[in-house]
């Protein structure tokens, strides 16, 4: 989809090239993350793909076509673009912001409206509520979502993302990353993703291109990168805690099916059933769901002593946090550590209960790997 050959950039007035003889091939539907310390040339490389910077030497082929032969305006209209600062237009409503490219492409009004609303749903912003708001009225995470929606609205096959989740807090970032991965699973865009955060790179990528001082050091899948770093620099970048980093690579639903655990109780289960399961369970906790299989809460031993009632629903207390089934094991670990318990309940997008994983499950994964 994107092929980069001998790409070089020397900025005017400088002798050392910012990017030197870079070769890279990105397959259709892949997320390629450019990672490296600041000043390593990763952003410059990205900006040469949509010709925000003109290359000094080398070629970029988009679907086999030399991109210098494509009008830069047309080229950019067909490549989604997201930057860390988002760059939302403060004087336009959310709707108008997202409709930027359709308006540039002079789409009919109906088509634009349909696509904008679709994209707003996709990134989890209710058009009814948000479309007429201005960017200043949005939180950082919401603005990032608008930025992504704006880049994707015209359905570009290629997207360039420069640290798109760099400016939000860690919890929001994890959530946005997971949402993005879910969207990507459906959309299968070819994405060039720039970050300096190796954890994010491992989590988001199909392939990782490690860059340093303008040169490409290694281009590999995350798991190969972790097991076989090309040199000292990559090894240092990846760090010593490679086992923990593997947790970024595996999604909760992947291990959920291997875990054999007792079924949850419905809220109208008898007190005796609760007592029995409490004794049998390795969790020392009973998961309670309602009739629609939505997570209702959990019951610990203390709940049974303190509260009175007939059925499970009377005893349970709400859980403070859950993970979705497309979260990484690392996300699950974070939640466990933050909540101070050895397990976390897994729900899907519609908050249906999917199962529970424990600290022990995570340990098994790490052990198997090493």
């Amino acid at each position: 989809m994107i092929k980069v050959e001998g790409l070089t950039k020397v900025f005017p007035g400088q002798t050392i090239p910012a990017v030197k003889d870079l070769n890279l091939e990105i397959k259709e539907g892949d997320v390629c993350v450019l990672v490296g310390p600041s000043g390593c040339g990763k952003t410059t490389t990205m900006k040469m793909i949509n010709r925000l910077y003109e290359p000094t030497g080398g070629k970029v082929y988009i679907r086999g076509e030399d991109h210098m032969k494509i009008d830069p305006i047309k080229l950019r209209l067909d490549i989604g673009y997201v930057i860390q600062e988002i760059g939302l237009f403060p004087h336009m409503t959310i709707y108008e912001n997202i409709a930027t490219v359709p308006n540039e492409k002079k789409w009919p009004r109906e088509k634009t409206k349909e696509k904008v609303e679709e994209l707003m749903h996709l990134v989890g912003l209710d058009p009814e509520i948000f479309q007429n708001r201005y960017p200043t009225a949005l939180s950082g995470g919401q603005r990032q979502r608008v930025g992504v929606a704006r880049a994707m609205v015209s359905d570009p096959p290629i997207m360039l993302m420069d640290e798109p989740f760099g400016a939000v807090d860690p919890i929001t970032r994890a959530r946005l990353q997971n949402e993005f991965l879910r969207i990507q699973e459906r959309m299968s865009k070819t994405i060039v993703f720039v970050t300096h955060d190796i954890d994010e790179a491992i989590k988001m990528s199909d392939t990782i291109a490690v860059m340093n001082e303008g040169e490409l050091i290694q281009h590999d899948t995350p798991s190969d990168l972790l097991s076989a770093p090309a040199d000292e620099f990559v090894a240092n970048l990846v760090g010593r805690h490679r086992s923990i980093k593997r947790l970024h690579l595996i999604r909760v639903h992947e291990i959920l099916k291997e875990v054999d655990r007792t079924e949850p109780l419905t809220e109208d289960a008898k007190k005796e059933e609760v007592e029995k399961q409490l004794e049998d369970s390795d969790l020392r906790t009973v998961i309670v769901v309602d009739r629609d299989n939505k997570l209702k809460g959990v019951i610990g031993a203390s709940d049974l002593k303190r509260k009175a009632g007939e059925v499970a629903g009377d005893y349970c207390h709400e859980v403070s946090d859950t993970v979705t089934d497309d979260a990484t094991l690392n996300d699950a670990l974070s939640v466990m550590l933050e909540c101070g318990v050895g397990y976390v309940a897994v729900v899907n997008e519609d908050e249906m209960y999917q199962g529970t994983i424990t600290l022990g499950d995570l340990l098994n994964v790490v052990r198997e790997d090493s």
């Binding site: 925000l52 047309k74 209209l77 760059g87 237009f89 403060p90 930027t100 930025g147 360039l160």
Partner: protein, 240 residues
């Protein structure tokens, strides 16, 4: 609905009414023959008309030149020049308007046209500076996002830069118009007419009533224009 009427018609009418009442009273109750000669409806309307012409012509020119100049200087190729011009403009702004007028009298002579030209040049300054500063102040990430999405430079200027800079440009325009209303009272010194006729004549013959009428009209114009432009801007700019 009622609020809109009140803001756009009610308040301006009250302002105009107060000054109009003062003029009517003064015209009908002159304290002596000099006041009677100077304060006639005919003369008051004439100086208002002259003042409005001074203002309108010079501000129209200054707005066109100031905004276009500010846009040109904000283009990357002229950006360095823009910085220099900004400094010059800031210095130019510190020159009193009477000095500008005196300068143009020695270079170009006298009369309405010279007064208009001096006012025009003087009013360009805040408009040009604010247009440049407004566009220059647009966050770079916004421009980069627009370029990255494939917007044409001209579209970026008209759809992104100018709208975002608009409140600052309007602020420059307001400054210019308020300065202009005041400075236009000086036109009378070189025979350019306007409300200054009343003020300076009043001073020359020491008739406070004449001074007061001229000054009140000048103050009213400045306050009313500033008020209306401010309200219009509020209506247009909903996002900040």
């Amino acid at each position: 609905m009622f609020r809109t009427l009140w803001v756009w018609i009610g308040i301006p009418l009250i302002m105009i009414g107060i000054v109009a009442a003062m003029i009517i009273y003064s015209v009908n109750n002159p304290t002596d023959s000099i006041v009677e000669r100077m304060l006639t409806y005919e003369r008051v309307f004439r100086v208002i008309r002259q003042h409005a012409s001074l203002l309108l012509i010079s501000m129209t020119g200054a707005t066109i030149v100031g905004v276009l100049g500010g846009i040109m200087l904000s283009r990357p190729s002229l950006y360095r020049a823009g910085r220099v011009v900004e400094t010059i403009v800031n210095i130019g702004q510190t020159v009193p308007s009477i000095a500008i007028l005196a300068l143009f009298y020695t270079i170009l002579g006298m009369g309405f046209r010279v007064a208009v030209f001096a006012l025009f040049l003087y009013s360009i300054l805040p408009i040009l500076r604010n247009t440049f500063a407004g566009i220059d102040g647009v966050d770079y990430s916004i421009i980069e996002a627009a370029r990255g999405m494939g917007m044409h430079p001209l579209r970026i200027l008209t759809k992104i830069e100018l709208p975002i800079a608009f409140p600052i440009i309007v602020a420059g325009f307001r400054t210019a118009i308020v300065i202009n209303v005041g400075a236009a009272t000086l036109a009378t010194f070189i025979g350019g007419g306007g409300l200054g006729d009343l003020i300076v004549t009043g001073l020359a013959v020491r008739r406070e009533m004449i001074i007061l009428n001229g000054a009140a009209l000048a103050a009213l114009s400045a306050i009313l224009l500033d008020y209306l432009i401010g309200k219009a801007e509020e209506r247009v700019v909903k996002w900040s």
